[in-house]
Structure formats: structure tokens, C-alpha cells
């Protein structure tokens, strides 16, 4: 019953957020300079005739009063109709369906790799001496701070141009995924490690850890059974945020490594003033954020029921 009520609150909240996002996007894209009809007729600076522009306006309902356009837009959204892309003339949902899987693949892989790296770093930091800890700290801060485009360039330079181990641009093979995933995962790993290490240190120095050690458990067992749970919680709480940061990082990474995906579509849609595409991608990103946040909340409840109740 409790779970059902929780779920109901989540879904209701999500719908309100989506409606607010949709409204914000509807207003936002109309504030961008440039005539949407022009975007339909071949992009900025088109020399389309007045007749062609008028045709486009009536075909896409751009000649209606703005308030009618808004309700028409909402009515279509309810039916999951995101409209037709101005530049590709195909339904937005269909295009998103094509470019979504590569981005989700990339982001999920990067998330997993970032978590694995973060755990590894945290473990190493626990076992390291003072100097090692200082060094680890420095590496984490640098990793968390480097921008994706710089990291991507350095990785291409190192592993592609100099060593020749990995392809510089995506080619559909697993090898082609390595550099894009690392580019996305490394900064996130640095960030997660920092979060984990603080609480790990606290947990490992706590009385129950000490008691476990006194019972004769090894440091590793204590780390696995007690430390990890405490260390993971704050990092887990931020995974929702992390996933959306991966999606925005994908805009850059997909451009550098010439990968197909949502990020690249968003970039070209913004440049081409393709309003339905921009709207669709923005709404979808909001939806992903909401779902991931709900999921992490659910996992947090599983790990630490007490914390979730309070």
C-alpha cells in the first residue's frame, strides 16, 4: 500500500514536471530569433518565396494564434505526437527512436565504468599511505574537473594517433566505443570517488567497523560488508544527476567521436532551428531525469530503509 502511494505521488509529480517543462520549452523556442517557417523551408537564410513560406506556415499550424498553438501542442503531446521534424520531414518520435539507442548505450556504459573506477579508486585510497592518498586526491580532482572535449582530444592523441591501439572515430565496433565511454566516465568517476571516500573513511573509522575488525574480519571484508554500503549511499543519491550529466556530455562526445546519437541530433536541431526536434529531445531528457531520480530513490530505500523514511 505504502509503495503504491509512493508510486502514485511519483507519477503525479512527474506529470506536473513534464507539463511545466513542456510549457517552458514552448515559450523558450519561440523566444529564439528566426522564423520557424524559414527553418522548414531549408534553414536559415533561405530564399524561399512568400508562397512557399505561407504554405509551410499553414501546414505546421504556425499561422494560428499562439494560445491555440499551445493547446494544440499539449493535445498532441498527450497522444505522444511530437510533430514532424522541420529539417528531416519525418516524425520526431521516429528519428528519436533511431538515435536514442546509441546514446543510451553510451551513457549506461559510461555510468557502469564510472562506478567501477570509483570503487577501485576508493579501495586503493583506503589501502594507500599518506602520500598515496594525497596523490589519489589530486588525480580525482583533476579527473572531475577536466572538460569532456579536452579529455576526448587527449585520449585520441594518446591511443589513436600515437599508440594506434584504438580508432579515433566511432565505427560501430566495440573498440570504437572505448574512447567515447572513457571520455564520459573518467570525470564522473573522479567525482564519485571524492564523494565515496569521505563517507568510506568515516565508516571504516567507525565503531562498528572497529568491532568487526576485532571479531577478526579482514579489512577487505569490512570494506565489502560495511564500508561500501555507507560509501555508496551519497554517491548513489547523485546517480540521477550523474546520468543526466552523461546525457549532456554526450552532446560533446558524440561530436568529437562522430557517433550517432541524441546529443548530435540536439546540436544540429538547435542550429537548424528545428523546433519539434528540440522540443522532443528536451522533453525526453526531462522524462529520463525523472525516471532515473525515481529509480535511485527506490534503490536508496532498499539499501537504507531507515534513511528513506525520515
Amino acid at each position: 500500500m505504502k509503495l503504491l502511494a509512493w508510486l502514485g505521488r511519483k507519477v503525479g509529480g512527474a506529470l506536473v514536471v513534464l507539463w511545466l517543462v513542456a510549457t517552458a520549452i514552448f515559450i523558450g523556442v519561440r523566444l529564439i530569433p528566426g522564423d520557424p517557417a524559414e527553418a522548414i523551408m531549408g534553414g536559415p537564410g533561405s530564399q524561399a518565396s512568400a508562397e512557399a513560406l505561407a504554405n509551410a506556415r499553414s501546414e505546421y499550424g504556425l499561422d494560428l494564434p499562439i494560445i491555440s498553438q499551445y493547446f494544440l501542442f499539449l493535445a498532441k503531446l498527450i497522444r505522444l505526437d511530437f510533430g514532424t521534424s522541420y529539417s528531416f520531414k519525418d516524425p520526431v518520435l521516429q528519428i528519436m527512436g533511431e538515435v536514442l539507442p546509441p546514446t543510451i548505450n553510451l551513457a549506461l556504459l559510461a555510468l557502469v565504468v564510472a562506478w567501477l573506477l570509483a570503487l577501485l579508486f576508493a579501495l586503493l585510497a583506503m589501502r594507500a599511505n599518506k602520500f598515496g592518498r594525497l596523490l589519489g586526491n589530486a588525480v580525482e580532482i583533476v579527473a572531475a574537473a577536466v572538460p569532456h572535449f579536452w579529455l576526448g582530444a587527449v585520449l585520441i592523441m594518446l591511443f589513436s594517433s600515437m599508440l594506434g591501439w584504438l580508432p579515433a572515430v566511432a565505427n560501430g565496433t566495440p573498440a570504437g566505443l572505448v574512447l567515447p565511454v572513457l571520455t564520459l566516465a573518467l570525470p564522473l568517476a573522479g567525482f564519485l570517488t571524492q564523494l565515496m571516500r569521505d563517507s568510506l573513511n568515516t565508516a571504516m573509522g567507525s565503531q562498528f567497523a572497529l568491532a568487526a575488525r576485532a571479531r577478526g574480519e579482514s579489512r577487505l571484508t569490512v570494506f565489502r560488508r560495511h564500508g561500501l554500503r555507507h560509501a555508496a549511499l551519497p554517491a548513489l543519491g547523485l546517480t540521477g544527476w550523474a546520468f543526466s550529466s552523461l546525457l549532456s556530455g554526450a552532446v560533446v562526445v558524440e561530436a568529437i567521436f562522430a557517433r550517432p546519437g541524441l546529443g548530435r541530433s540536439l546540436l544540429s536541431a538547435v542550429l537548424a532551428r528545428d523546433i519539434p526536434m528540440v522540443t522532443g529531445i528536451a522533453l525526453f531528457s526531462a522524462l529520463v531525469y525523472i525516471v532515473v531520480m525515481a529509480l535511485t530513490e527506490a534503490i536508496e530505500r532498499l539499501i537504507d530503509p531507515a534513511g528513506a523514511e525520515s
Binding site: 536559415p44 592523441m157 594517433s161 568529437i256 557517433r259 541530433s265
Partner: protein, 552 residues
């Protein structure tokens, strides 16, 4: 057409440095690819092409009509006419053509025995269907439809011959019909809905569109029934050597170059100037194919202060040092131009006397024009107004080197007293700024075959905006004498008279200090050493891969 939709370059600058350093360190081969020129052609293999341009939303270059579309469409569509190696217009899909004495009827006869990729035969019906397709507002052509603007009616004389009735004589018509934006496609294909035709236009070229995986590649394969309009006795078979071309889009210049270096791709376009200058040392081939039409140039908006005064325009020309900037920023890969037209246009004239760097002269001119006082920051003022030049720059059209060149000009013009305000804009905002006349200086490339581009850029009619707000005459020249020359030049039947009229027209524009030529529209390609036979291009300088082969 206006150069369009270059790669998104937001990251290029940051990427270029570390990569360039790595590539110099990592490469040991210094073999000159041209040494392999005599290699015997071998058939087979798929060439991977990496474009830095934005992926077109439609592969049919009639729709819209920009250079990235022309680059890829040149492989699967052909034009009625083309240019030979000497720059002369020659028939291609057309076999011959003649014009009536009054210049109002153009008769075009097609070659026999050519078929489209969809299996239909090339007949005179295709000429009619294609020109009507370009003129149909629903096609949304913004380049090709201008080229066939004077065609009023098309009469089919027989299976292979069509008669074009013109509203006025147009000696640029064959040049217009040599461009990929007016290339011929199957009338059957055109009857499909636009999305279907955009995905796979049916042309007559040596390659055909097999599939298009958006954001990944356009896959082109050899057209087995290809008939080349050019007789070539050396070839055993009329079909292309290559099995196909994988046409990729890699927006980042540094990634594109790294992929070429590591052998992941065979040919790249839009390379950075520093990589062009070191190409030979790195074992790469280089094709330099300047685009036809106008040169890259700054236009000075003469319709409002301060550039409504010719003395201020002249002062600006003398206040900046363009040559040293071009040499250093382009690593000697671009040559300074003093012409309104591209160096591939035979009728272009050059005048370097107008563009000397001379600060003393610039100061005298500005003093004489009434801009004699200076404010606390050293900029000139007149009636309380500062001598400010608004300069919107499109980051899509101006490569990083060009943006740096403009910044150098900004710095050089300051001691003379000009305040140049550069604003970096995306393409939509840039067109928006121009439409609202919020510019004093602008660089707006324009590609077209032949000198008739001068009418588009400098006739007073081109100051009247299209419904979108676009106009081509950015210098805002309204000169009845120039207008007459440009109209007469397009109507004469006499080649010598045509040249003379265009010469006079260009001199008027140069004498009025409306335009500062910079260099040809840069169009470079780098290719790895296993690529042979590069060099042939269409009339708009887009490379053709019919005679190209790989020795993998």
C-alpha cells in the same frame, strides 16, 4: 549558393593543438603520394570519405541547395553541362545546345543511351521535369531555382530535344545548368514524396545511393549500368573503379584528421590550414580546388553611416594589413586575392592598388571625412558618435583561421581610430543580424559558376529582401550604371563584349571601395597515399571519384 552549414566548430580550437603536436611526433612517413601517380588502376575497394560539413537533411540538391549537398550529390547525379580542365563550359548529359539569334530560345539535345539508377531512360522529359521541380515552391529550392529563373516554358521537340523559352536572354544559362544544384534526376523518382526522394535521389552518376544511416553514413555503391558521357579509350570498363563510397560526417576537424592519419578514413574535407601545410611531410595527398563564383571578401555596408562615405570606406581598406595575417594564419595555404571573383573565373579582374596598407593615408581620409576628434580610448568620434563598425561573423562559415584574421584586422584598425565590434554568431542569428541591417562589415561567401554572380551580389535589385529577410547585395550598392552593365553583360551574345562589360562592372565596385577581397573560397581535401586519381571535379569544384582507385 551561400556556403552553408560548416561543421560545428565549437571545440576545434582546443582540440587542434594537442593533436597537431601528437601527429608531428607520431608520423615518420614522408613519402610523396604524387610519386605513385602512374600506378595502374585497379578495381575494387570502398573509399571512406569524411566530411566536416553538417549532414544534409536531404540528398537531393534541388531541395535547399548548399555545398555539402553538392559534394555528395556529385557522385550520384550529373548535370547537363560541365566545365573542362581549361574552365570552358562543355556539354555533359547534353550532347549539344544552341541558342536563337534573339537569345530567347535555348535548344538542348541530350545524349542517347543513358539510364537513371531507377532503370528509366534519360529523355527530354527529364529536362522539363527537373526545371519544373526546381521552380515549384514546394521543392523549397534556394539555389537551383535562381539559376533557372529566366526559363519561362519548356517545349519537348522530340525524345531527346527540349526547347527552353526564356523571359530574357541569359548567356549564363549553361553555367547555371553545370551546377549540381540543377543536376538531372529521374522524373519517376521526382514523383515520389519529398522524403523518399531526399533519401535516395535517382540520378545518372557512376555511384548510386544504396542506403543512408542518419548521422553515420551515406552508403554509395557502383552503378553497374553507368555510361560515361566523356569518351575515354583508356578505360576497359565504363563503371567506376571503386565498389562504393562510405560518406561519413565527422564534425570535429581534429578527429577527422586523426582518423585520416590512422587510416580509418581515406579522404577528408575542410582540413585545418596547419594540417594542409604539413600534408606532404605526413605522407598525405592534397587537393586544392577553389570554389567558383565570388572570392571570400569583406563587404562594407554603404547604406548607412559611417560607410555611406566613400572616404571612410577607403580609409578602412588602408588601415588594415591583410597579407601578413593571411600568410601566418593560413600557413601559406591561401593566396591573397584582389578580385571580386574566384581565381577560377576567367573574367575576373584584379586590382591590388586599392588595398595597400597605409595608416597615414587612412588618417588623412578620416580627418577629411569629419572624423577628426578622438575619445579617451583613442577611437575617432564625429558629432558625439564613435567610429564603430559592427561586424557579425558566422561561426558556421568563417573557419577559426578566418575568425583570427578578423581579430587581427580589429587590432590593426584601432590605432587609426576604428572600433571594430566583432560578434560571433550561429548561422540563424547571423542571417537575422544581416536582415535587420545590424552590420557595417560582413563576410558572406557565394558560390556560383561564372561571372553572373556579380549581378546577384551587386545589382540594386539584390538589396530588396526575400520574404525571409535575406538579400545578397550586402554592400548595398545602388548604382544605375552598374545595374545596366550587369544586365547587358548577361544578355550579350558576344563573348568579348561580355568580358568587357563585366570588367567595367567590377571596376566600378572596386573603385567605390565597397569590397575588400581576401582569398578564394577555400576548398581543400586531404587523402591518404593509397588513394589514386584524385583531381577531377565538377563545375563547382566538388571532387568526383569516378576515376579514383585504391591500392589497399
Amino acid at each position: 549558393m551561400r556556403r552553408n552549414q560548416r561543421a560545428t566548430r565549437l571545440l576545434t580550437g582546443a582540440l587542434a593543438l594537442p593533436l597537431a603536436a601528437a601527429l608531428i611526433a607520431g608520423c615518420s612517413s614522408t613519402e610523396d603520394p604524387s610519386a605513385n601517380k602512374d600506378t595502374k588502376p585497379v578495381a575494387g575497394g570502398t573509399l571512406v570519405y569524411a566530411s566536416g560539413d553538417a549532414e544534409p537533411s536531404c540528398l537531393d540538391p534541388h531541395v535547399g541547395g548548399n555545398y555539402p549537398q553538392a559534394l555528395v550529390a556529385s557522385q550520384f547525379m550529373e548535370s547537363l553541362f560541365t566545365k573542362d580542365a581549361e574552365g570552358k563550359i562543355i556539354p555533359w548529359l547534353a550532347e549539344k545546345s544552341e541558342v536563337s539569334a534573339d537569345g530567347l530560345t535555348r535548344t538542348i539535345t541530350l545524349r542517347d543511351g543513358i539510364t537513371f539508377h531507377d532503370g528509366t531512360k534519360l529523355t527530354s522529359e527529364a529536362i522539363k521535369a527537373n526545371i519544373e521541380h526546381l521552380q515549384d515552391p514546394n521543392t523549397a529550392s534556394s539555389t537551383g531555382y535562381l539559376a533557372v529563373g529566366k526559363v519561362d516554358q519548356i517545349k519537348l521537340v522530340d525524345d531527346l530535344t527540349a526547347e527552353l523559352k526564356l523571359s530574357a536572354p541569359d548567356n549564363a544559362l549553361l553555367e547555371s545548368l553545370s551546377m549540381p544544384w540543377t543536376a538531372i534526376q529521374s522524373p519517376q523518382g521526382l514523383k515520389r514524396d519529398q522524403a523518399a526522394n531526399c533519401a535516395a535521389p535517382a540520378g545518372t552518376g557512376p555511384f548510386k545511393v544504396e542506403s543512408w544511416d542518419r548521422q553515420q553514413a551515406v552508403n554509395l555503391v557502383r552503378y553497374e549500368d553507368y555510361v560515361s558521357p566523356a569518351a575515354n579509350a583508356e578505360r576497359a570498363s565504363a563503371t567506376s573503379y571503386l565498389d562504393g563510397i562510405t560518406w561519413r560526417f565527422i564534425p570535429e576537424a581534429a578527429s577527422r584528421y586523426a582518423a585520416l592519419q590512422s587510416g580509418e578514413v581515406d579522404v577528408i574535407d575542410n582540413p585545418q590550414p596547419d594540417t594542409i601545410s604539413t600534408a606532404a611531410d605526413n605522407g598525405l595527398g592534397h587537393l586544392d580546388a577553389p570554389r567558383p563564383g565570388a572570392s571570400n571578401r569583406l563587404e562594407l555596408n554603404s547604406s548607412k553611416a559611417p560607410f555611406d562615405d566613400v572616404r571612410v570606406r577607403e580609409a578602412f581598406m588602408h588601415s588594415v594589413d591583410v597579407n601578413s595575417g593571411i600568410n601566418s594564419l593560413y600557413f601559406n595555404t591561401a593566396k591573397r586575392s584582389y578580385s571580386l571573383l574566384s581565381s577560377v573565373e576567367p573574367l575576373g579582374i584584379s586590382d591590388d592598388s586599392k588595398f595597400t596598407t597605409d595608416a597615414t593615408k587612412a588618417n588623412e581620409l578620416l580627418d577629411a571625412a569629419g572624423w577628426s576628434e578622438r575619445d579617451s580610448e583613442g577611437y575617432r568620434v564625429k558629432d558625439g558618435k564613435r567610429l564603430t563598425l559592427k561586424f557579425p561573423v558566422s561561426t558556421n562559415q568563417s573557419v577559426p583561421a578566418e575568425q583570427s584574421l578578423f581579430e587581427q584586422m580589429q587590432a590593426a584598425a584601432k590605432p587609426v581610430g576604428f572600433e571594430v565590434k566583432i560578434e560571433l554568431l550561429d548561422l540563424s542569428s547571423w542571417y537575422g543580424a544581416l536582415a535587420k541591417h545590424e552590420y557595417d562589415l560582413v563576410s558572406a561567401p557565394y558560390t556560383k559558376v561564372g561571372p553572373s554572380v556579380l549581378r546577384i551580389l551587386f545589382h540594386s535589385d539584390s538589396t530588396i529582401p526575400a520574404p525571409s529577410g535575406y538579400f545578397a547585395n550586402n554592400a548595398q550598392i545602388k548604382d544605375p550604371k552598374l545595374d545596366q552593365l550587369l544586365v547587358d553583360a548577361e544578355q550579350t551574345n558576344d563573348e568579348a563584349e561580355r568580358a568587357e562589360l563585366y570588367k567595367q562592372a567590377q571596376q566600378i565596385v572596386l573603385d567605390g571601395y565597397y569590397v575588400m577581397p581576401l582569398y578564394d573560397q577555400q576548398n581543400h581535401f586531404l587523402y591518404s597515399k593509397n588513394v589514386h586519381g584524385m583531381g577531377e571535379t565538377t563545375a563547382v569544384s566538388s571532387p568526383i571519384y569516378y576515376n579514383v582507385f585504391l591500392d589497399k
